[in-house]
Symmetry: C2
Subunit: 397 residues, 2 copies
């Protein structure tokens, strides 16, 4: 899949010593050559990291210039010194890139509770600022610069032809189950040359995050650093997008974020299946997501999929304790297209056939239909394998 960068953006990444392996990038910069509207959506964890505090102050914003990123250290649970270090990262990157400190955002991911080694970071930021570019290798280096336990870099671009001219959206993300040094994190970053006002960018990013990055779960442990950023520099057109063009851009952003979000459970370490939970007939989106999340985080559902066990009782009973009212006698359940439960009662099915279908497919589709309303929702998670536990239990701080 070929990737390209929106106009007037430059990116880069390299190794500065936060990770032990010198072949692994651990610092990156994304720079817009012109002021960009910026939007951000953040973890709701009360224990949030220093870069989250900085970025919250600066988004939504009308004239940001870029993002400085490090991996290997989350700068979380680091108190006042951590806040100062995060501000310092932004200031060093701004100086190296020729902009103002408050025009830079910061993303960090990695170990919790350790101070950033600022000399290494300082030198790394200055070096990467000299290597920025627009080629695929620059994009890959930047994407790899935000990886922790990810086994592949996550980078997608899409092009949208609007009447006013083409726009490009390029998305980076990282996340691969929370099995990192202390905890991994979900980071997402979308760059576009579309001309989108900051308030509109913030509103659509929040809405789209609800349907994409907030509809994935590996084990439900919310990180201190989770962040999704959008930078729109308007290089593609002098006039702001509006009306149908703005709506078309929002649909394209939704597609991009959906693709990015699904890469995270796909990379869930030690997992054998991605589980796609399709809910329909729900009262509203909040109700649907609560049910989906409860099913996605049930260890019994996840182990059943790992074992290719078409165990509808675990799925239906997880929905039942989600805390959302529904009529159990109006529920149908299909797994991989096979009807297992209809109008609140089990139906006869060939267990061996359904089990084989789970075993033979990497994606398991749980399709649960309610009779409460018109809302549909998709949610993605992973199965729970002995390998996941081994990876998480064997790591020592």
């Amino acid at each position: 899949m070929s990737v390209s960068l929106p106009k007037q953006f430059q990116v880069g990444g390299l190794h500065c010593g936060l990770k032990r392996n010198p072949n692994k990038q651990d610092v990156a910069i994304v720079l817009s050559e012109r002021p960009a509207a910026a939007a951000g959506v953040y973890t709701t964890n009360l224990v949030f990291a220093a870069p989250v505090a900085i970025d919250r102050e600066r988004t939504p914003g009308r004239s940001l210039r870029g993002v400085v990123i490090n991996s290997g250290n989350a700068n979380a649970c680091t108190g006042q010194r951590g806040l100062e270090d995060a501000r310092r990262m932004a200031a060093i990157a701004a100086e190296a890139c020729g902009c103002q400190p408050e025009e830079m955002l910061v993303l960090s991911t990695g170990i919790i509770g350790e101070f950033l080694p600022m000399e290494k970071i300082d030198a790394g930021i200055r070096r990467v600022a000299e290597t920025l570019g627009r080629d695929e290798e620059h994009m890959v280096a930047a994407a790899r610069g935000m990886m922790t336990t990810d086994t592949f870099h996550k980078l997608i671009s899409r092009r949208l032809d609007l009447p006013s001219g083409p726009v490009t959206l390029t998305g980076f993300c990282k996340g691969a189950a929370m099995i990192g040094p202390n905890m991994a994190t979900m980071l997402g970053l979308v760059l576009t040359d579309a001309n989108v006002p900051a308030e509109a960018a913030q509103a659509m990013l929040r809405e789209i995050t609800e349907e994409t990055f907030n509809c994935i779960s590996v084990e439900g442990h919310m990180s201190t650093n989770d962040t999704v950023l959008l930078l729109a520099n308007g290089a593609a057109s002098s006039e702001p997008l509006a009306g149908e063009e703005l709506a078309a851009f929002q649909r394209e952003l939704l597609l991009l974020c959906t693709e990015l979000a699904k890469l995270i459970p796909l990379d869930g370490e030690g997992t054998d299946h991605v589980i796609e939970i399709q809910l329909s007939g729900c009262r509203d989106r909040a109700a649907a997501r609560q049910i989906a999340k409860t099913i996605a985080e049930s260890a019994l559902v996840k182990t059943a999929v790992a074992g290719a066990d078409p165990n509808w009782g675990r799925i239906v009973s997880a929905a039942g304790y989600a805390g959302v009212p529904f009529d159990p006698s109006g529920v149908d359940l299909h797994v991989n297209g096979h009807l297992l439960y209809q109008q609140g009662a089990p139906v006869a099915f060939d267990e061996a056939t359904v089990s084989r279908s789970i075993k033979d497919n990497h994606d398991t589709i749980i399709d649960l239909r309610f009779s409460e309303g018109q809302t549909s929702l998709k949610f993605w998670t992973t199965d729970l394998t002995t390998e996941y536990v081994r990876l998480n239990a064997d790591y020592h701080t």
Copy 2:
């Protein structure tokens, strides 16, 4: 530990063919020779089993006579026929014991979504009604008659000397992680000869359940059948307990239920540690339990304990996403008595020492102190091991 039965109760259990192994009891009866006050607390799962529906109708009640119990089949997700079968179980037991159908309660646990084999159950109930008694062997047979994947029967009795005379409390429970045929269940049953009015019995059982059976979790999957029952037949005294005597009884019931509840994570299959989460300085009990439950159900916390990893970041960040407001800078964390985190910041500690202490002890104590209020709470859960996943993934319906 010697056990004894309260006055004017008889119990028994035997094998009637619901379980494959003929040495395993699968039907039991508990009978009071005189009318007893009865209280019940039930699963809040919207998908609840037929016996739960029956018992909800009948509790609190002033003149119940007993409980008929089966294991191996939960009679859940069985619709109208399941309801009729549960009523029929009560009626058969009542006929065999010489009381009225509506004087019997019903408990079922085992596989979901299959109809009860009523001929076997009918014959089993009639046979067990002829074998009731008061010896330890009768009590053990009844306790084993409610077991599914439990590796040991759970039976405790306590004696309380009141000014008006001694009373006895005997508790049965079952539960061993949700790894049963489709899903296991927590069942609790307390018998006493104390004279406790039905309304008082119901109020204290609800309050005590909040602090005991609702403060345990193995993987957070709420069953369709969870039930706690209390039968108080008043055989010990002609006058109802009141004032300080009633309060003393309630304290004793709390101790008994605490001991019973802790047996369930102790029997968590495939687990290596019981984790006791001690919270203090919380705003109120609901807030404390929400935080404790979130920590208890974090796969990252549970795998860290399995791996003897003193990973405070996982514990603190799980508290942070519990949805309960607190000041992160007022939080202290001790694990097995070692201070790891103080006033919202990590402190230096010897990781090898703490890791060894987790490895060498069956119980891991997570002691988390907030600065929000005066409420304390204890919560018990298990670690998450590869063996747990193997057991749950390898079972096939």
